[in-house]
Symmetry: C2
Subunit: 658 residues, 2 copies
Amino acid sequence: MKQETATIIFQPSGRRGSVPRGITIVEASRLLGVDIEAPCGDHQICGKCRIRIENGVFEKFGIRSGQEHASPVENRETETLAAEEIEEGYRLGCATTVQGDLLIYIPETSKGGKQVVSKAAGDLDIILDPAVKLYHIKVPAATLEDKTADFERICRCLEKEHALSALEINLYALRSLPGALRTGEWEITVTVWMDKEIIRITPGSTTGGYGMAFDIGTTTIAGYLCDLQTGQIIDTVSAMNPQVKYGEDVVSRISYHMGHTDGLARMSKDVINTINMLIEEAVKNVRSNPELQASTMSRITAEDIIDLAFCSNTAMHHILLQVDPEPLGAIPFSPAIHQSLILKCCDLGLNVHPGAKAFFLPSIAGYVGGDTIGVMLAETPQDSLEMQLIIDIGTNGELVLGNREKLICSSCATGPALEGAQIEFGMRAAPGAIERVKIDPTTWEVDYKVIGKKTWRKDSTSADMKTKGICGSGILDALGELFLAGIVAKSGAFSAKAQESIRFRKNQKTGFNEFILAYADETSIGRDIVITQKDIRQIQMAKASIYTGCKLMMKKLGITSLGSIKIAGAFGSHINNHLARVIGMIPDCPQRILHSVGNAAGDGCRAALLNRQKRKESDRLCRSVEYLELTLEDTFQQELVRATQLPHMIDEFSHLNQ
Amino acid sequence: MKQETATIIFQPSGRRGSVPRGITIVEASRLLGVDIEAPCGDHQICGKCRIRIENGVFEKFGIRSGQEHASPVENRETETLAAEEIEEGYRLGCATTVQGDLLIYIPETSKGGKQVVSKAAGDLDIILDPAVKLYHIKVPAATLEDKTADFERICRCLEKEHALSALEINLYALRSLPGALRTGEWEITVTVWMDKEIIRITPGSTTGGYGMAFDIGTTTIAGYLCDLQTGQIIDTVSAMNPQVKYGEDVVSRISYHMGHTDGLARMSKDVINTINMLIEEAVKNVRSNPELQASTMSRITAEDIIDLAFCSNTAMHHILLQVDPEPLGAIPFSPAIHQSLILKCCDLGLNVHPGAKAFFLPSIAGYVGGDTIGVMLAETPQDSLEMQLIIDIGTNGELVLGNREKLICSSCATGPALEGAQIEFGMRAAPGAIERVKIDPTTWEVDYKVIGKKTWRKDSTSADMKTKGICGSGILDALGELFLAGIVAKSGAFSAKAQESIRFRKNQKTGFNEFILAYADETSIGRDIVITQKDIRQIQMAKASIYTGCKLMMKKLGITSLGSIKIAGAFGSHINNHLARVIGMIPDCPQRILHSVGNAAGDGCRAALLNRQKRKESDRLCRSVEYLELTLEDTFQQELVRATQLPHMIDEFSHLNQ
């Protein structure tokens, strides 16, 4: 007998669930809280709901997927989609019905409810001194009396007027030099990289030169388009890292490479394609920004982007560059290279100006990469008199501790729970996600707030909420509040008292206890949104690993108190610091020394884009920061197990001061 | 009425003529003295006679060509040729008959009578100090105690053992580093460019590293494959410059670029393809060389070529690099760049090791390029106490005059006559070409020698000669001997006395007087091989332009005598120095100071490949040598007209000493 439901997994979000057979893929996406754009109202007209059905057996997900599990291609689809698209497995989500298990990829362009920029750019106080600068010069025309070649002619002028000597020129610039000089009537703008290499020649007086800083996270990629002449961010873009389909964390990506001959090239190509898409998106945003219509910026093209800077963890760095990441997966976890790299964008397949270069921040160790260097460039613990602890929470957690005297760093495997992954109703920080939770300690009444709505649950109607899931900060809030209300015990298990709540139940299918945060009628998915015992375990593991890291590092430096604690990362900027202490994720400390610093890695990467001294500093930092391998510390296991528990009381942490 | 003959033009030689319709293309090639390889004896079996029929209207040649002017494709052809080849216009020369005018391209592989390496490599006395060197190192394995990254680990060792510091690494080498270290059990060979950049990593102990020097002439391209560890040439290859189809000289190539949007890219691609073909050919030659079977060289691949050096005239340099050559075509003829260039081979599409770089010798002026710098690197007039005059004769003539005190240079438009082009029976220096001519001053009997045969005409039978045409040195000999015998007058016209020779006649068709060098029965083309009045005019123009250049340069330096005269170039190594003086091509001088130095440009390019100091010297020379624009000298026209005449007597040149 044919089954009545099918398993659907949406990529890159990873959202999965059972849906009735026969419904369309767009309908399935709504049931599972994944939005596919369908502005025409499922009338198979707009073609916006393009999705791709992946073909093959996906062991990781335990399903087989393919076109044979979907309705046949309809005329509407052949009219709307290109023949090559259909060949590649693309379909219209509103025209295609579910006939069996499917792994469905939703292109960025088809996503509804664009992600709220979680990697928001912080304010930076940087002296503007970019690697790439523009020089406008006018040279005397070549004559029979002075027939010096074009290059030497402009060098003479650049040396005299701008003290630039021993310049080189790249092939692309050289190719355009004779034409530009003559079109511009011997007046040109020369774009110079690091006072060393001419990378672009444009006729006449050109203003405008843009750079882009990228933070390549395991889960999220963020890009900041900056005006190199003012240092201002003119657009911010972000997307999921498309590599999530090969595995959620760096270890599974390394495994994918080891198991597939073309795995490295494929993962690299995926991320390069996404970067190119973000470049295009940023350029498009600026061009269509009504506030910039009067400015020359409104004519920006990708070719106007003349410098790039990248930060990422070491594995993402290696994979992007197609450098074998296998040694990162085994003791002693050595990277292929520590120092910063400068590569030609065109060698990497990045669609910006052909002469542009890409700067990659250095990697400290196999699990502490350029993103941590970025955090340090932004937060400058190396200049600090007081002892700073910086916790950068992404798919992995990286920790930096120290001051101007000494800095140490380490990494801890937090897992993706804090980003909303591997959580039953977890989702990324997009509209509809529960981001704040409050539980009345006496009535146990739940109130919550979703992204995209200003009012809390209690001030809205059920039908108004259209809640879709829980994002990282919501999960942490929920656990903190459940613990404070006594519904969850010190061990992380639901307490005996929990039975008293009508929101508590045992899921008959999974066998796990769960607590309802939002009832089905408040959601857009038609089901109760719960936090399960399994979800709580995931968060406990994550918070324990961060706490253990902090503790062992403080022990290493022999300190018991801190001048400041900074929480960085997409997640860090949203969490409730108080509750993070409540559940024992961070060392106990006075509220005043606790700061959320947003996407500090991205800020630091932007600093490297805008100031060449920061690039030098990045290599100095990489050489001087000491890496601590937490798992090799004698007391690691013991501390980790202990830290899994929720604290008795907040002042439980006073043992740090013993 | 249908015409009975058709015009056939063979490329890249440029040989053209009328042939009867209905004969095969191989037969036509024999009539016109162009050999297509047909080892199976025209039996349509071996497929060696692959040729391509060019399609379109060729204004330059005044013909329309295409498959419709040839017999239809036969079964034999579809069996032998690939479908894509037929699509591209390829045919079997022995199966295809002429039905109308045709422009036919003969691929290098289908050429019979391989060209005698006219650009032979001279002996060079160079200290071996190549830009690229190999270092074999063994590093300690990474451990938890010493988990330094791979790159920094090998740098530590390279600094300690080989004093190499501040090394960079390119992307290709970085990609192979982790794998090579682990495959080689921490023993690797590091290939370093200029003590600065790691360009290759190979596991274990690698020996063998090759470089190739290329001399890109307007007409001929020569390549020298060298062992970078011994400096020895291990193979020499050459081919016609495929750009000849766009025009014989640099001016017509520049015009082609100006008239065709894609002309520059197309010409560049043609020459890059030929270079790649020569690289493959050289590698193949070494692999199949029986003398090298025991050596590791027999396993050479193109990937083992890790450094390249190039010399060429300025226009060929610009065109290869796709740098706009248009300014070279107009006053003041300024190049885009003087200084030497270092480019990545892969950016240029050169199929060698992906990390290899290409070094381009600097260009002195629009018409004195890196080839002249090459000549100086090989002949070192810059170190000479005595006054040297170097005449490099190719499609253009370049002159260098001076000593260690001062060097000047200039160029003269010799035209391609001295290379056998634009001469009625002219051909390149291949077997069957008349290379030496003697005319008895009293009996006017002609004797000659062809390339590929040891005996002269008088010691052979007519049927044995199989003469095909005249190459540059033969043409010069012929004119010198005709002049000495009194058959040609001082003006260059046939003298009244010429009538007395049975070899003299007026061609009824062309109206030109001509003199028979070889009778039809001595030839393989079945026609008398003659030197025409028009041919003599071409040579007069060429020799006058060289002589005028020499004279004006000597005047410029205020000198009347020379320490040595060196004749360089493909042609220079074959000419009879005595006759060159007889016809007034070079200043009169004692025979003892006159030397043929072969392809000095190629030798100098090889010097730059093998010794990095020579690269520095090339830029110093480029800055210090003064360029003289001959056509701007007051007396240029007057001198040129005067020099067109043949001298009264050899001592006519005594005016140089006035």
